[in-house]
Structures are given as C-alpha cells and as structure tokens.
C-alpha cells in the first residue's frame, strides 16, 4: 500500500490539478460571469452563456412602404427597401424575443425578407466553417489516403522511401507549415499562382477573400495530414488476409470486384475511425487560421477553437470560453458514442 501510494501519488495529484480539476472548474465557470482579470465579484448567471451561444431566431420583415404612394419604396438602384435588423434587435422593449441577438445572415422568399439572428453569430459561423471543412476534407483525405496506402503497399522498390516522404508533413510543425504556405499562397509572388499561371489562369488572392480562404486552408491541411490516414489504411490493408484475394482469383473475380468486395469491406472499421478523427480534427482546427488568416476575412476562417481562444484570451471572457469548451466536450462525447454504435452494429 505504501509503495503504491508513493509511486502513484505524483501522477494522481498532477492529473487532479491539471486535467480533472480544470475540467470540472470549466463546467462550473460556464454558469458564471467569471473573467480572466476582473474587479467585479463572480456571480452565477445560470444558463445565460449557453443560451447566448446557441440562441437563433428568425425575423420576418416586409418591404418598407412609401407613405406618399402606398407602393413599396425603392432605393436609388430600384431595389426594395427593408427595415434594418438592428431596429429590432436593439429594441428590447418592443421585441424582447430578439434581445441580445445580432444578424447572422438574411435571405428572401418573394418580397419578404428573413433575417436569421443569433446570440453569437461568430460562433454560428465558426460551426458552419468547421462543418464545411470536415465535409470537404473527409472525402479528400480518405480518398487520397487510401490511394497512397495502396501505392506504398505494392511490392515496389523504394516504397519505404515513398512512405517516408508522404508521412513527413505529419511530423512537421503546423506553425511552420502554415507560414511557408502563406508564401506559397501569396497573390503576387506565390508558387501556387505561378503554377496555375502556366495554364493561363489568373492570379487568385487565396487567403484574402472569403470565397477561397477556407479552401486554401483545406488543401494545405489535406496535404499535411494525409500521410496519417495513409498509415492507418496501410495497417488495414495488411490486416486483410491474402487467402481472400486468392480465393476470389480462383473464382474469377477481376481487380475491381476484389477491391469492391474484399478490400472496401475489410477497411470499414478504418473508414469509420478516419471519418470520426477528421471530424474531431475539424472542430479542433486552430493553428492554420490563427497563423494564416487571423480568422478572416470576414470570419470566413474562424473556427470553434479560434473563437474560444478569442473569447477567453483576447476578450478575457473565461466563462463563455469555458461554455464553448463544455459544448466541445459534449460534441466529442456524442461522436464517440456514434462511433461505438456504428462499430458494434458492424460486428453484430
């Protein structure tokens, strides 16, 4: 008992202080107004931080009428004029339902305009951004990862060399990679624009415009991380017994049939695992937007963790940042339960 305590105590104390303690403290903080540095006393605010983060409301407005003619008013360009969303969100007395919200985006159905309001529009944008990231990266990284794994699994001279090259970005620091790629993506002198210029395409300000900034980060992230998926698929491929392929050959199966009916089913567990790790990694995305775009332009590359750091560190709002951290944990918890469920289903 005594040696066990002596041996185990340092790790247990550190675990309590720096993992379990902060974990529960974070849950507690998320129900308060605690700040990093503040003269005000800490007070409980109930669910307010969470409500603010997830609050979404839709505001329906009709075009403004011209009182003189009774017809809809038009601006100089001949477009319909609508009341501004902030006329409602800042009028707590008459519209308490929209209190504390700001405009996230708007759309029209016919002449009626709908403003979608959110308690924290940037948080909502960050969730959409990471979902977009995941939806593009999942097919790219699984497809390319599987292709690489198949290639380096061939009996080919130099395959260890190829494997090492494809894996090397995984062990390179993301800060370094991000900075080097800022130069590659440079509008005037970047290699990427030089390269597409060879095909007569015009130069693109990859990181400087909302339509391409996230795509640029996605391409770089796939390039950096795909070696990891390659290794996982490689392990999966090597786990498929050879006799299955031999039996299929005897039965006259062609290459595609063998791939479709032996390789793909044999890799199902790996596929599930990879899709889940990529989804989690998308929600963890931080270094790339921090170094390359600072979350911009116009929040186009703001991610969940980036927003959390902006809240907690730059704005010193530890309470809201902790609430984002708790939501993040619930998300991870949910996704690992989905993973368990899918894999259990497969085994049965």
């Amino acid at each position: 008992m005594v040696p066990a305590l002596l041996l185990g105590l340092p790790a247990i104390v550190l675990l309590l202080m720096f993992l379990i303690g902060p974990f529960f403290a974070g849950i507690g903080f998320s129900f308060t107004n605690i700040r990093l540095i503040s003269a005000n006393p800490v007070e409980s605010v109930g669910l307010r931080n969470y409500q603010r983060l997830v609050k979404v409301a839709v505001l329906k407005v009709e075009p403004v009428m011209d009182p003189a003619t009774g017809q809809p008013a038009l601006d100089e360009d001949g477009n319909l004029v609508y009341p501004r969303s902030r006329d409602f969100t800042r009028d707590e007395e008459n519209y308490p339902r929209f209190a504390g919200t700001r405009e996230w985006f708007d759309f029209n159905i016919g002449d009626t305009r709908y403003y979608v309001l959110a308690g924290d529009p940037t948080f909502m944008k960050s969730i959409i951004n990471v979902i977009f990231f995941a939806l593009i990266v999942i097919p790219l990284q699984t497809g390319l990862g599987l292709l690489l794994a198949i290639l380096v699994n061939q009996k080919l001279k130099g395959r260890n060399f190829f494997r090492t090259i494809y894996f090397s970005p995984v062990v390179t620091s993301m800060v370094v990679i991000s900075i080097v790629w800022v130069f590659l993506y440079d509008k005037d002198n970047g290699l990427v624009n030089q390269f597409i210029g060879l095909f007569g395409l015009p130069a693109v300000n990859w990181l400087g415009q909302t339509s391409t900034a996230m795509l640029a980060i996605i391409v770089m992230s796939v390039w950096q991380g795909v070696g990891f998926q390659m290794i996982l698929f490689l392990a999966g491929l090597q786990g498929i017994p050879d006799f299955l392929y031999e039996a299929a050959s005897i039965d006259g199966a062609n290459t595609w049939q063998k791939f479709r009916n032996i390789t793909l089913p044999g890799l199902r567990g790996i596929f599930v695992f990879i899709i889940i790790t990529i989804t989690i990694a998308a929600f963890q995305l931080f270094t790339q937007p921090y170094v390359m775009t600072n979350g911009g332009p116009d929040d186009a590359t703001t991610t969940v963790v980036f927003h959390m750091v902006r809240k907690g560190f730059r704005e010193q709002d530890i309470a809201v940042a902790s609430a984002i951290g708790v939501l993040f944990f619930l998300f991870i918890l949910g996704i690992s339960m989905v993973q368990r469920f899918i894999l259990r289903d497969q085994e049965a």
């Binding site: 247990i12 202080m17 974990f23 190829f162 370094v176 990891f228 290794i231 889940i276 907690g312 560190f313």
Partner: protein, 305 residues
C-alpha cells in the same frame, strides 16, 4: 489495382507475364514520382529560398530554379535570423522544456502505471477507471479554465519570494503537461504484458517493489518508453497555443511562438524560410533516424479514440 491483388499477381507472375507487370510498374513509379513532388515541394522551396536573397527568390519563382540551389547562395538569411531575433534563446527554451517534460513524464506516468499493473491497493480499480475516462477529455475543453487556474497559482521566486501566478515562467510550460492519461494507459498496457515471473523471482531475491520497477520493469520497456518520448516530444516541441497565452516575456518564448513573432515583424521571405528550416530540418532528421517508432507512435495516438 489493390495492394494485395497486385501481390497475388506478382507471386504468380512468370516470364511470360512480365510485359504486363512491367507496364503497371511504370504507372506506379510515375504516380509515386508525381506524389513525391507534391509532398516535398514546399520543403524544397523552403530550404532553397533560405539561402537566396529576396529578389532572387522572386525571380526564380517563374521557373524550376525555385527548387534548385542555383544563383547567389549565402548564409545571409541565417545570420539575419540570429541578428533580428533571440533564436538561440528560443531554441534553448524549447529544448529545455521538451527534455524536462519528457523526463518527468516518463517517470511520473510509468510509476503510476506500475502501481496500477503490479501492486494491490485500495482504490486501484477506481483510479484506473478514472484514467480511462479522462482519455476522452479534449485539451480544448480544459485549456481555458486551466489558463485562469495557472494565473492564480502561487509560485516561488528566488528574487521575489512567494508570487501569485505562473504566467511567464518555465514551469507553466512544463508541469501541466507532465501527466498524460494516454501515456499512463500505454505504460499500463505494456507492463501488464511483462511476465509476472520476473517480479516474483526478484521478490524472492529480496528486491523491493521500487527496485523491481526500475531494475526489471523499466529496462524491459524500451518500445513504450520510445513511444511516450516521441509523443511527448512532438507535443512539447510543437506547442503553440498554450505558450501564446501564458508567455509574454521574450526570454521564455519557445521556437514556434518565436517563429510566429518573427514572421509578423519581418516579411523578408528568405529570413523566415531560414528560421523555418532551422526548426524543421533537425526534427525531420530525427524522424528519418527513428521512422518506424515515429510512425507507430503517431498511429497509436490516433487509435486511442
């Protein structure tokens, strides 16, 4: 097309079938060559640019010269890194933090794992269950409350006596990262598979539990020590978000944060590339030396989920 079908084809191939095989080999080599270029061009560009003056970097971009060691090559950019930043200091900080974290984490995590796998004590099962449960807690959930916590923790300073807050210290970059539920778990799994007969023989010979730990268990745990070392090193060396928040002093800055500052204050491409090369090439060389361990360690870190 698939790996194993190919290997089946190869094993069955005779001289008669060689031409077909030969064609597919050419396709495979060509594909690999394109991929090698795709994966290696940023690194080659970085290294070459680090030796070139800025105007030449831009001029070379229009041709393959961007990837070749041609023209006016010098160490000017490297000298500029040393002149414009405290690079040696940043390097020392990162090495010191990495080595200290690795050593302490090897000791602390393996001791608990030994107690869990080899000794009988009250609460053992509970502690093991808690450690497995904590594997799911993401660092992102803990980092903000931890920031507040370390800003309030008492510290001891040689010059100021008892201080408040761990911000701007070495230990704030080390102590929170010593213990790792995943490392404990790796050690635990490995120790469990070391035959118990070894301990029993040593006990008969009069060895203490602690002696068994460091004379029998640890010397037989090379692979798991390598894995924990590699994973802890990658984490410590690449750490970025945490030091960005807790370190304001330039004296205590690690290399990655130093690089971000250098990048922001200075847009001379060649100099930034020289800085990047100096913190990337050594790690890549270590990776090349211990490839197998690196790949296995990183793969295992992904499989924990």
């Amino acid at each position: 097309m698939t790996a194993s079908t190919q290997s089946v084809a190869v094993s069955k191939s005779s001289k008669r079938r060689l031409p077909k095989d030969w064609k597919s080999k050419v396709v495979q080599y060509a594909t690999n060559l394109i991929l090698v270029i795709f994966f290696i061009f940023p690194l080659v560009f970085m290294i070459m640019a680090s030796f070139k003056p800025n105007d030449q970097i831009f001029a070379d971009l229009r041709s393959l010269r961007a990837f070749l060691p041609v023209g006016d090559l010098s160490l000017t950019n490297y000298q500029a890194v040393f002149a414009k930043s405290k690079f040696p200091r940043f390097l020392f900080n990162s090495l010191f933090i990495s080595v200290t974290t690795i050593l302490l984490s090897l000791i602390v995590n393996s001791m608990l794992a030994y107690a869990l796998s080899r000794l009988k004590w009250a609460g053992q099962k509970l502690v093991l269950a808690i450690i497995i449960a904590t594997l799911i807690i993401p660092g992102e959930t803990v980092i903000m409350p931890l920031l507040l916590l370390v800003s309030k923790l008492p510290g001891l300073s040689l010059t100021e006596g008892i201080t408040t807050g761990w911000l701007n210290t070495y230990h704030v970059q080390i102590i929170p990262f010593i213990v790792s539920a995943f490392s404990i778990f790796l050690f635990y799994q490995f120790f469990r598979d070391i035959p118990k007969e070894l301990d029993e023989a040593a006990l008969v010979d009069g060895a203490s539990r602690f002696q068994i730990y460091y004379k029998i268990i640890l010397p037989n745990s090379g692979p798991v020590i390598a894995t924990v070392t590699i994973l802890t090193f990658i984490g410590a060396w690449n750490s970025f978000l945490w030091p960005t928040m807790v370190i304001q002093s330039e004296e205590l800055r690690p290399v990655m944060v130093g690089m971000q500052y250098f990048f922001q204050q200075d847009t001379e491409w060649g100099e930034v590339m020289a800085y990047a090369a100096m913190i990337t090439i050594p790690v890549l060389l270590v990776f090349l030396l211990f490839q197998r361990s690196f790949v296995q360690s990183i793969a295992s870190s992904g499989i924990k989920g």
